[in-house]
Symmetry: C2
């Protein structure tokens, strides 16, 4: 097939949709598709991407044969719209736009209103009956053309406009009259002549050739080149150019402009939804100068509005529009968001795209469309963005309730909560114990705050990012959290929270919106979530299409119960250290840490054993035979010791040691970089008695509860096979001891976290002793990128902004770096042990993009916080469907 120089669309032009985006560019292909299904798009033509290369080959010149063809393309447009390019009576104006194979938003140039000159502007003024509009259009055209095509500095024009406004005492452009604008056009034309040496081109065809060349030229602009490099777009692709008729909704009372949805984007109901304005342009709607009217009479009546509905004002055109809805949905098989213009009684569709919708609407539409036979259940699963489910699972603020925002932080954990400010965990637990709703406000939180966080309705911190301790734990618990609210400071002495100059005493009621990061004064009403039938239907379809299992990271009975309610198929990470803080346990933990010898440590651990055993027993009971992965003690010991004098004195008293001995031990345990310190299996190797106690608690609990419990014991922070071997040998020995004592054996397995680069690289050795790998992507990200999660807030925002990381790598897995290590570990591990079980238990386990990556890598399960389990179930299903 010889390369066609331009491909017409609209009116009687044959459909060219089959030529595709590679040839027509994204814009051209979309218009061709709309025209192809008979929608009344303003006609036009597309110059294919292949011409871009020819433009550059010819030394940045349009090929002569293309120029020759332009008249033919224009004739097609003129014929469909019944207007003439360059006519003084009924002038046709066109837009000239770029269209690369993939969208490059804002990167390349566009020219609107092309075809205006000193003569056609008069025609437009007459035809529209609106000289101000005509002169304003001409003014804008000169400025845009001057900037894009002639390369003049746009400040020249903007300065002239400002001077005119000053002169006329006008603060808004709209206050200038038609006469003012006509004078401004003269000034603009003078600027062009002066700067360029030549007058502004009055010949519409010359204008068109210039604009097409400029669009091709913008393909190799520096900013486009940078964008391409960042996004791996080959320069050779080139851009197409689309020339399309401009249509106007402000040509009098038979003209109008509007937007419509094929279904209600708020609740998903199948009805015509939208607004329009008679004798107006799209801009008028946006500018908010006039209030738009409803499309349907029913909607107008429901709202008690007065302005005529389109159904009433333009019954014929409305019927035409309504008729298109069915066609649009049948073709696109989704709810569409449409922009339309009526020009002198003729309906034109300017754009159609998948309509944005609320979470509730997304669920309803997906289910309804399956019932309507429009899509299959697998497509319904793919339709719903997993991230929006979060909106359905947490209480939200009543959108109609007034709110008085006093500070902003990061939206660290979704949901809304109101309560009294409390400044420490003890107070939180105490006041919550009295039935009060409290919000825990801290500079930052540490593991010692767990009980306070649990007692609180929500958490607010002054420091810390999206993956700070507060954020991670709050998400895990399903508590709303706003973190890193920098304006907030805390004065513990006078017990007030300060925001700038304002002070809020402990006990003052505030409200948090963990989805927006807002902190509000007083109580703002909240709405409880409804897990409607649509939710359950969609999740059932998702489960049917899912390959990977979904587990939860949980260790408290409450979290385990939540996890099961949300459909978790096991526990992927039970963090035993979280069990070390409650009640008098911390006393024994501290006695263990302060113990000078194995004897003393063993004695302290023995006191912890019964409660650890109870912890495990209650998890096993709730999980009822589902797999439970228990991680042995992970954090450095100093996390369990206090740092303040008063607390050290308390500890000294409870352990019978001197304060100075406690202080000395705290100092001894201090680490420069605790994340890389004496923790994980390193502790377990230094203090095998910890492994012994924990293994014993697990085995005794499993035997006590039920035959079907098969604990998976996970060793953290392994970097070498030998570390795992050493800890595993202790676990295996204790297992035999317990089995002998109890006269009963149970199956169990021992595996490891893969959370250090070395572990990923040495996976072949490590899999020799590990029955499973669980990717601890939090620490693996910290070590692979060399970024401390706790310290990253200072620069990570800038980094994402500068395009260094496209998303926060602690939220969505850095697949290029960390992901390669995951892939290496999976492949090498399975080479040693083909039945190696692979899962992920970092925060990333609940992130849809990461879940898709896990599916590609063939992982067996993902594990995330209980509240993200539904998201993970849906994301895993989508990943499986996309992988095909």
């Amino acid at each position: 097939m010889p390369q066609r120089l331009l491909i017409p669309f609209g009116g009687p032009a044959p459909s060219a949709h089959h030529l595709g985006k590679a040839h027509l560019g994204g814009k051209g292909a979309n218009l061709a598709e709309m025209a192809g299904i008979g929608l009344p798009v303003p006609p036009g033509f597309t110059i294919p991407t292949s011409l871009c290369e020819r433009y550059y080959e010819a030394g940045r010149k349009l090929p002569a044969e293309l120029k020759a063809k332009l008249a033919e393309g224009l004739a097609h447009i003129e014929q469909v719209v019944g207007m003439q390019f360059g006519s003084s009576e009924n002038p046709l104006l066109v837009s000239v736009r770029s269209g690369a194979r993939v969208s490059m938003p804002g990167m390349m140039d566009t020219v609107l209103n092309l075809g205006l000159n000193d003569i056609t502007v008069e025609g437009l003024a007459r035809r529209s009956g609106n000289p101000r509009f005509a002169w304003d259009s001409y003014r804008r055209f000169i400025q845009m053309y001057g900037d894009v095509v002639l390369g003049l500095d746009h400040y020249l024009f903007e300065d002239a406009l400002e001077l005119m406004k000053d002169d006329r005492n006008a603060s808004l452009d709209t206050e200038l009259t038609a006469d003012d604008l006509q004078i401004l056009v003269r000034q603009y034309l003078t600027i062009v002549l002066k700067e360029r040496g030549d007058p502004f081109p009055q010949d519409p065809l010359e204008q068109l050739e210039g604009a097409i060349a400029a669009v091709f030229g913008s393909w190799r602009s520096e900013r486009a080149a940078v964008y391409r490099r960042l996004n791996d777009i080959p320069e050779s692709w080139g851009t197409a150019v689309t020339v399309q008729a401009m249509v106007f909704g402000n040509m009098g009372d038979t003209s109008a402009t509007g937007v419509a949805f094929t279904r209600d984007p708020a609740n998903g109901d199948r009805l015509i939804y939208g607004e329009y304005l008679i004798n107006a342009q799209g801009e008028d709607v946006v500018a908010g100068i006039r209030t738009p009217n409803y499309l349907t009479t029913a909607a107008r009546e429901r709202a008690g509005a007065r302005g005529q509905s389109m159904e009433e004002a333009m019954p014929g055109v409305f019927a035409e529009l309504a008729g298109m809805f069915e066609r649009l949905e049948r073709h696109y098989r989704d709810c569409q968001d449409i922009e339309f213009t009526v020009q002198e009684g003729k309906l034109w569709l300017l754009q159609t795209r998948s309509g944005k919708r609320t979470a509730r609407a997304a669920l309803k539409m997906a289910c309804d469309m399956v019932d309507e036979g429009l899509i299959e259940s697998d497509e319904a699963v793919l339709r719903v963005d997993p991230a929006i489910l979060d909106q359905l699972l947490h209480p939200t603020l009543d959108p109609h309730a007034p709110r008085k925002v006093i500070a902003m932080g990061l939206p660290a954990s979704p949901g809304a909560a109101c309560g009294a400010i409390v400044l420490d965990s003890e107070t939180a637990a105490e006041r919550a114990g009295r039935g009060e709703d409290v919000i825990l406000v801290r500079v930052e939180t540490s593991p010692e705050d767990i009980s306070g966080m649990h007692a609180a309705r929500g958490i607010l911190t002054a420091r810390g990012g999206m993956t700070s301790h507060a954020a991670v734990v709050a998400r895990g618990m399903g508590r709303p959290c706003v973190s890193g609210a920098g304006q907030v400071s805390i004065d513990m002495e006078s017990r007030v929270m300060k925001v700038g100059a304002r002070e809020f005493a402990e006990g003052t009621i505030i409200t948090l919106d963990g989805a927006s990061g807002e902190v509000m004064e007083g109580r703002v009403e909240t709405i409880e979530p409804e897990l409607s039938g649509d939710f359950a239907r969609l999740m059932a379809w998702a489960d049917a299409h899912r390959r990977m299992k979904v587990r939860a990271n949980a260790e408290t009975p409450e979290d385990c119960t939540t996890a099961r309610r949300f459909g978790a198929e096991g526990i992927g990470l039970a963090r035993t250290e979280h069990m070390f803080f409650g009640g008098d346990r911390i006393v024994h933990v501290r006695a263990m840490i302060l113990g000078a010898d194995t004897q003393t440590r063993r004695a302290a651990l023995e006191k912890l054993l019964p409660s650890q055993r109870d912890d495990f027993a209650s998890i096993f009971k709730i999980m009822a035979g589902l797999p439970v992965t228990i991680r042995l003690l992970d954090p450095p010991l100093h996390e369990f010791l206090p740092t303040r004098d008063a607390e050290m004195a308390e500890v000294a008293e409870s352990t019978g040691l001197s304060v100075s001995a406690v202080r000395r031990r705290v100092a001894e345990l201090h680490e420069s970089n605790p994340m890389l310190g004496h923790r994980g299996c390193r502790l377990l190797i230094s203090y095998p008695e910890i492994t012994e106690m924990q293994a014993r608690a697990i085995f005794e609990a499993a035997i006590a509860v039920d035959d079907s419990v098969e604990p998976e014991i996970m060793v953290p922070l392994v970097a070498t096979a030998r570390e795992l071997d050493l800890v595993k040998s202790v676990i295996d020995r204790v297992a035999e001891e317990v089995f002998a004592e109890q006269g009963k054996r149970i199956p169990y397995s021992v595996g490891t976290m893969i959370e250090l680069p070395r572990a990923a690289l040495r996976a072949a050795d490590i899999a020799g002793s590990a029955a499973f790998f669980s990717f601890g992507t939090n620490d693996l990200t910290q070590t692979t990128l060399g970024i401390s999660r706790d310290d990253a807030a200072r620069f990570l925002g800038d980094y994402v902004e500068a395009g260094i990381y496209l998303r926060d790598p602690f939220v969505s897995l850095d697949t290029e770096g960390v992901g390669e290590l995951v892939g290496i570990a999976a492949a090498r591990g399975r080479a040693t042990r083909p039945d190696l079980k692979l899962g992920i238990c970092g925060e990333h386990g609940g992130d849809p993009a990461t879940i898709a990556f896990c599916e590609e890598q063939g992982l067996d399960y993902v594990s995330c916080s209980p509240w993200r389990v539904p998201i993970a179930r849906l994301a895993a299903a989508q990943a499986a469907l996309r992988k095909g």
Copy 2:
């Protein structure tokens, strides 16, 4: 060739050395080699490794045909030594030893004195004229055989021995008489009968078969299996068994035992060196009961000793021994360390091996042997262990001077130093300025101590490992350092150093030995190093065989000068932050850090510019055209701020800020894990003005100094190509500015450290912008292994002991983990940019094993501290020679 069941050696047996270690095992092959060159080894035979498998295949039984062959093997031995196995007159005794293909020290079993029974013991007593010796040998044989072959608990025998000693009021075994021992033998035989149910085998052939089977059996003992697994030794290799005649030096005055070196191991002189004892066994020499005599008369006279030399007492045998020296050195082409026994006038060589020697001797021997034509220069290069050069480059303690050790720490930086205790850096600088020798004693050091460390003769710290700040910096400066001396504490108030209960006031003289970790009271005399002609010759040969360049990590003029003196071919790492501490610079640095906006920071940086420029200029001058790699600012900013109140007040005064403002900024900059925090290129991206100042200083200095300077500017802590791009764009812009201002261009290149796992994985992208990669293996090890160097001391010792890491991974590169990343980065980087320059600049750059790894990876250079440059030169030559 049919498998031979046993291979004889010694006497007239044909040489079987060609059969190799795989067949004969290490022990068997060595004996075959010695016998093959005509050395008088006690005769014997080796049962090859292939029989081991047959032993297991037959269900742990010796093949019948092997049993049939044993008589033949014994006959060979009997014939050579003229004794008979089982004879009551002149009984032949044999040893039975294992011999795997590689040495497995202590892992497998050995039986000595086999052939003794109730009859032959009498023959031995008569023949030796020493019944006590005969009965003691029999006693030992029963115990060893009982343990190894019969599987009896060795405590049974030891208990009996202890009872006998109690009974005889003897504290040492040697106090028991022949009669006592004869009674003990009876008791032993009773123990065997009682425990085993059968009597101790009296038939020597039965004894021999049992011992051979036991050695084969020990191949699959649990400890051997564990050792093999740890060392990757296949079980299928099996062990050989060597049966060899026992010879005795205690058969009267024509018998003797001794050790000899073919050259003097202390100074390398070519002379016969050694000791011997007449009528003695090797054990007698070890036990120290008798003082051995010299071999040569000359040595005896030099020492003024009285006991007859061997040359005098046994002139014939001595001449025979002396005659062998030439033969041994010609064959082994190295100085040999020999064990010999003379039995009734007949000389037997028991063992020969390469002789251990001092650093000085090693150099002299290597050079002499080249002169003698014994070896070529390449072999001389391979002969000297690079690590020992350290001994030659630093002052050492006079070995004859008395020393009073008061504490021990880690041998963190070699060399000896004496001086007055000073407890802070200011005092160190002040007292050193007055010409006093001082030793800086600190709990641990930080970058603020650099000037004090530089002023001191040596450094002692109470905390920190081999790679603590003190250790690393001291090695870099060539200052002796003892780190982590746990007994040492410091009381700053009373200004004393405490060691246990003892107190040493500031100003007290102490001496450090950085090679042993000893801390001594008072002044111990030191010996200055002599870089003799042998050193220079060897280094010249090394340089001729070397492929990789050797650079130094240095930034002070003193260190750069030292580096050149030691042969550095460039600077691989100039750490600019080390230039930020001196004099009033730290004031400007702090003003910059405390600056609230870019303006203030820029002003402070401008004040730093002249001194930075001078720093670079002096480096460029000293390096005179050699390549210089300058790393831009790397550490987190808080390292430049004080943490103590008094110092904060000073800073407040010098910067004109309030103390609370300083305190706030210090708190703001606090990081949980500074190693993974806001540092390296992250700082340079947040504060491009730092890059601007440093780049300007580099370019202005390079232009000012000389045309031939071609600076290599290194961006630290890069994890993504975009980070490097962002910093490089600033450097390139400043370059153009400076070139335009100065009217002169110079060549320069921009590259990056590869010190994060992600950087290694993404090397293909990063090489797009980097002209060179320098592997920062300190940080790469920290991140890959997830171990903080500063915190590792607490467990890394245990880890190395437990075999988790075979060597400290901060000293010798973890080639399996970190090394794989280095290999990946090198390969991917070069795929993008074939001429990418690759080097290493971590502490590992001076470690011979790491240097060998770098050679394998094809790196272009290694860079290490100036004092290790000679070591690196030699190690690089050896690596090149070994790679071939």
